[in-house]
Symmetry: C2
Subunit: 413 residues, 2 copies
């Protein structure tokens, strides 16, 4: 949390990864982010991973620091309420993020009748408006085809929803850019992007589309090798597995020096007539290079290697499971000012991250937990929609809205 | 390209993926982005993939729409020049993105002596200032441990530099947030983030850190299955491989309906005493579900399945190589307004993407090629540093700067 965006109010109607991540990122930058959900929770309310209690660790992670309102979105009154929340007055309000493509009452045309300068950012599945998820976009664009061990024939999908993560961060950029334009001109606008377009554009940016068109040989699987230069995983004497990088000239010469393989590399150059200073040559000869380096790793235990690599400024890391990383790596602990150890009822106690951005003018603040579903229903109806207590009470009584506090209050009465 | 950020000027001193991607993203949103490089090109000048000519398709992809200046960064005059470019006057200038951590003359403290309201965003490797790349951060945090076929024992690294992509987009957001603050207060600032912190925070956001702490069972490999609900790849009668999603209740019921497996799913529920409407149950029973569905896919050819899935609104996609995707998918062609077929000398002719963001107030513009290294040297010295022709000529003559045009002009004289 920082407060660089303090004063901004953003409304989010979303589910799953990308748009919730966008809202959370903005909340951790200090914006007041209101997430609305249907009563009982949206499609992602129970998304895995879950705690032993069954409560979603995912939902808690994706909604940190937001305010939550639970509304019966099927009732006309609920729809009106959401419209009023999205289009409420305020110079720094009137911004709406969504991946729910609802025509008729929650589209830009309708909403902007209530607030002319509304900024709405919609993330679609693909440009045709069809639903897509990370798990469908990624295979369609060919990444699983180039992932995995060289000897393995099938495609290997990502465990990480990379496209969702990229798209969510682009939603943040799109919103900030549109708001910059509004600050200068007063004009709101309708911004659209799609998960598949984000992925397709990125393939192009990385040079993969050009590669597929102008080169005959397809980019095949290369196991854990660094593509296009040298980088490889090795098993050490104690069974630990290490990744080492020889991407830049400095990294490469450091690696050769520490492993004392300069003579063998020179012999390889002499034998092939190629120059290992060229990164493309290192890539082409990666198997020969790995063959030369392998015995050195097999003879040295991990901690000894780490020490030597650090001393020589070699870029490397150790393969771990997430459990090992959380147990061993202080970068994933409150030793890192980004993390704070939080207790969350129903979930447990573990390190929770704030924003990875550090702003010199805005002190880092503690990460905030995700709200209980509907925890801010009453407060939002008061301070955003400007309803009276009587109006708010009527909405609770008729079931148009819900809140854990109100329900408790009533059952105790 | 749009022009939502028209008028902004951003200077970039960078290499590889994240920060070049940030600058390119801002350029495609309409900002004037100046990338400076050392004479002959930076560390990423020849980064793979490359065209048959040896020219980098990667560099061309990462630097689209920027202006390029080539400077001898070791000479005092070159350092002064870069300082003047970064800190040049202009209300919408004075912004600097970098992943080169140079102390002494290119840090925030020194640069801001020349322009008090400078905004500088620095992406580091890790929070300690050590170099890290996507290929080291990812294994250290455990993603390769949960990637790949269930029967495969080793870790499987990503072919996609996902953390670089996420970090690059966060650099964009950080810059826009800091500039928003400057527009209101006049205050510049020093913004820092690190690749490893971006990855570590994201693990937390996705619930993976909580999962590692509060649950005994580690998240293991699950092949191409969708984690936490149902989603699986199947080979069809014609050998095509399809990914199908049963994440939401609607997706799941659509899948069961089209495959006519309702009876078998009901029998599975009866036998296990579990309710497949629960996404966690679908995850736990994914192997049994796959066993039920498999024969249906094996009996139907891909095109027939596609048709039925589309008609029923099932979310699915087909596994392809990048070559197949580029050849078959119109979303990766100029049929998609995001793409344009460009001819680039030394590289070839292929579809080049613009920004995936579409702004209703800013018409989409054609994607611009990357510049030749130093192509704008003369122009930047004139319009940004405000040098006279004589001053500029002297810098070329003394080799402090370089440009392909100037060299051509001189050799023709």
């Amino acid at each position: 949390m920082t407060d660089v965006l303090k004063g901004m109010r953003i409304v989010e109607g979303s589910a799953f990864v990308a748009v919730p991540l966008a809202g959370m990122t903005l909340a951790q930058m200090g914006a007041d982010v209101i997430r609305f959900d249907r009563i009982g929770g949206g499609l992602d309310a129970g998304r895995w991973p879950v705690a032993p209690s069954g409560q979603s660790l995912f939902w808690a992670g994706m909604n940190k620091g937001k305010r939550s309102i639970a509304v019966d979105m099927k009732s006309p009154e609920g729809k009106e309420l959401i419209t009023r929340i999205i289009t409420a007055p305020g110079e720094d309000a009137g911004m709406f993020l969504t991946n729910l493509r609802v025509r008729g009452w929650m589209d830009h045309e309708t909403l902007s009748q209530h607030r002319r300068d509304l900024i709405m950012v919609t993330l679609m599945g693909d440009r045709h408006g069809r639903p897509q998820v990370d798990y469908t976009v990624n295979p369609a664009l060919g990444i699983p085809d180039m992932t995995g061990p060289e000897e393995y024939e099938g495609p290997v999908a990502n465990a990480l929803p990379a496209w969702d993560l990229v798209a969510g961060n682009m939603v943040v950029s799109a919103l900030l850019a549109a708001e910059r334009h509004r600050l200068r001109t007063g004009e709101g606008q309708d911004v659209e992007l799609s998960l598949k377009d984000v992925a397709a554009a990125t393939l192009g940016h990385l040079g993969m589309i050009g590669d597929a068109v102008v080169n005959d040989a397809p980019r095949g699987k290369a196991g854990n090798a660094l593509y296009g230069a040298y980088g490889q995983d090795f098993v050490c004497a104690d069974g630990k597995r290490i990744m080492v990088i020889g991407l830049t000239a400095r990294q490469w010469s450091g690696l050769v020096k520490v492993t004392e393989t300069a003579d063998q590399m020179a012999a390889l150059e002499a034998r092939t007539g190629k120059d290992l200073k060229d990164e493309g040559v290192r890539w082409a000869l990666r198997q020969e290079i790995t063959h030369i380096l392998k015995p050195w790793f097999a003879q040295h235990p991990g901690p000894r290697i780490s020490q030597q690599f650090d001393a020589a400024g070699v870029t490397w890391s150790q393969f771990r499971s997430v459990k090992e990383a959380v147990a061993e790596d202080t970068d994933l602990s409150p030793d890192n000012p980004m993390f704070e150890q939080l207790h969350q009822p129903g979930l447990g106690t573990f390190p929770v991250p704030g924003s990875p951005m550090s702003f010199s003018r805005h002190a880092r603040k503690s990460p905030q937990k995700a709200p209980d579903l509907g925890a801010h229903t009453e407060e939002i109806l008061g301070d955003v929609v400007r309803m009276t207590d009587a109006e708010i009470a009527r909405l609770f009584d008729t079931g148009v809205v819900q809140s854990p506090n109100y329900a408790v209050g009533r059952s105790a009465a």
